[in-house]
């Protein structure tokens, strides 16, 4: 489980009472989209680092 900002922290995988199954499905899809976003971010960070390294060779 990756760390989360304390005030954002919620490990709840279900929505509070009042949500129906369709809303839960949307929530699950939203979580997948966030995971996808973070995976792409990691990919871009590696790219940026490699560009930086190429421009500034280590001594």
């Amino acid at each position: 489980m990756p760390e989360r900002i304390r005030t954002l922290c919620s490990d709840d995988h279900v929505l509070p009472p009042g949500a129906d199954s369709r809303e839960q499905q949307e929530f699950d899809r939203g979580k997948q989209l966030i995971e996808n976003l973070i995976a792409r971010q990691t990919h871009h960070a590696v790219d940026a680092l490699s560009v930086l390294s190429a421009g500034h060779p280590k001594p």
Partner: protein, 458 residues
């Protein structure tokens, strides 16, 4: 409405072929008549607007030289922005019983001091984030161009009120395109100024790193006028935006490897290519430029926005779940899944991408992009997570903080407008508006809107 611009309106008022009271009364009649079709407004104040209108009519007769720069101009205000004496509900059940705002937001106050007449609060997505949603106190605003269509968002009512002639201008907010999206889909001009340029006091914020406030209008000249007043500058004459300096325009266009075309609906790709061809035929230099990664900018903006809105609203949404619409609360709770490391990485990426974008634009007057990746569709088909599932071109300028201006360029096959957006250098709003005025003349968008026909009204 017979006048298409503020300049035309004010000419008619000065020549006494129009009266401010009649203009305002007609708009109020239309607001009432179209409310249960368009849901453009959340609330309006007819008495206050008519009272100001009468004062201005008296001044037109007694002392026309004393008229303020925006006399006769009516405007709506997105309901996340305070207007003294009116409730700021943010389109949310959670705020329907809130007390009326004690004072105007600074941008509202400046417009009023310049003579503009506030008609009321424009409909919007819940807290400028959760919509379109059908479980809010007021149904979602609809496009005046095509029955049941999405007018863009989250400043949806701002777009609808101006496009439908229910006011002359509107104030919206823009966190990931919420001014430019309704401008693009409603055939309007919309400006997201440089980050931090316009005061945000009295504006209910969503994501502090990305939020902006700005105007939506019918023409570039109107936009220039509104922007100057909102920025606290001396109002420039609307015509000044179309002055020609004889220099060739250099518009930056993305290199093919940037991947823009793959993200566009085929119809949008075709319209964008046609617009660029028209610019080229008119003598505009189209300069291919290398830009920072499109996906990296989309991702960084998405991560920052989702983390910051979850930070602002998460605990309240969990505690008072039923007080929020399902689209808003779903998005907020999804935002809670952002790890702290991802948020911090995104803030670093923001600075790096901003520098890269500044360098990329240094050789051109502005970057031109489509107003959106797709034309507007039926409102009930809008994906809850459309801004994450597909690339959001508007998010680029929110991330980099550069000024971005949407202008209309033509009509899609389904009968709704479409447009482009121009990204300029930081704090160069006037240059961007001058440039847009020239491009506006080249594209010559002048399509007659017939909302009554679109909605089969008698």
């Amino acid at each position: 409405m017979t006048h298409k611009s503020i300049a035309q309106l004010q000419r008619g008022l000065r020549q006494h072929t129009l009266r401010v009271e009649d203009v305002v009364a007609e708009q109020l009649n239309q607001i009432q008549a179209k409310q249960d079709r368009l849901w453009a407004y959340i609330d309006w104040d007819a008495d206050a607007a008519l009272s100001t209108a009468r004062q201005q009519d008296a001044l037109l007769t007694s002392d026309p030289n004393a008229l303020p720069p925006l006399f006769g101009v009516t405007f709506s205000v997105k309901d996340t922005i305070d207007v003294a004496g009116m409730r700021t509900t943010a389109g949310s059940k959670s705020r329907v019983d809130t007390l009326p705002a004690a004072q105007d937001a600074i941008v509202v106050e400046r417009l009023r001091q310049a003579g503009a007449i506030c008609l009321g609060k424009a409909n919007c997505h819940e807290f400028a984030f959760g919509g379109p949603s059908f479980d809010l106190p007021v149904p979602p605003a609809l496009s005046p161009w095509q029955a049941g269509y999405f007018p863009g968002g989250s400043s949806s009512g701002s777009g609808t009120t101006v496009a439908a002639g229910l006011c002359h201008a509107s104030i919206g907010t823009d966190t990931a395109g919420s001014i430019r999206s309704p401008s693009t889909h409603c055939g309007l001009v919309g400006l997201k100024p440089t980050y931090g340029t316009l005061p945000i006091e009295g504006v209910h914020m969503l994501s502090l790193s990305l939020d902006h406030v700005g105007p939506l209008t019918r023409t570039v000249a109107d936009c220039a006028l509104l922007y100057d007043v909102m920025a606290g500058n001396k109002a420039s004459a609307p015509q000044s935006a179309s002055r020609s300096d004889g220099k060739r325009i250099r518009l930056g266009v993305p290199l093919p490897e940037w991947g823009l075309e793959q993200e566009l609906q085929p119809e949008v790709a075709r319209m964008f290519t046609e617009t660029l061809a028209r610019f080229g035929d008119a003598g505009v230099d189209l300069v291919p430029i290398e830009l920072p990664s499109l996906d990296a900018m989309h991702v960084a903006c998405g991560v920052i926005m989702m983390a910051e809105v979850a930070y602002a609203f998460g605990p309240t949404v969990r505690k008072h779940f039923d007080q929020f619409g399902r689209v808003f609360r779903g998005r907020i709770l999804v935002g809670e899944r952002i790890p702290a490391s991802a948020y911090l990485q995104a803030l670093q990426d923001k600075l790096r991408l901003q520098r890269q974008m500044e360098r990329a634009l240094s050789a051109v007057d502005a970057l031109v992009l489509p107003g959106a990746t797709a034309v507007a569709g039926p409102l009930n088909e809008v994906d809850t997570f459309y801004f994450l599932a597909t690339i959001n071109l508007n998010a680029i300028a929110n991330l980099t903080g550069q000024p971005a201006l949407a202008i209309p360029t033509g009509m899609a096959a389904c009968g709704v407008p479409f447009g482009i957006q121009l990204l300029g250098q930081h704090h160069q709003e006037h240059d961007l508006l001058q440039l847009a005025a020239k491009l506006e003349q080249i594209v010559g968008f002048d399509v007659q809107l017939d909302t009554d026909a679109a909605y089969s009204l008698p």
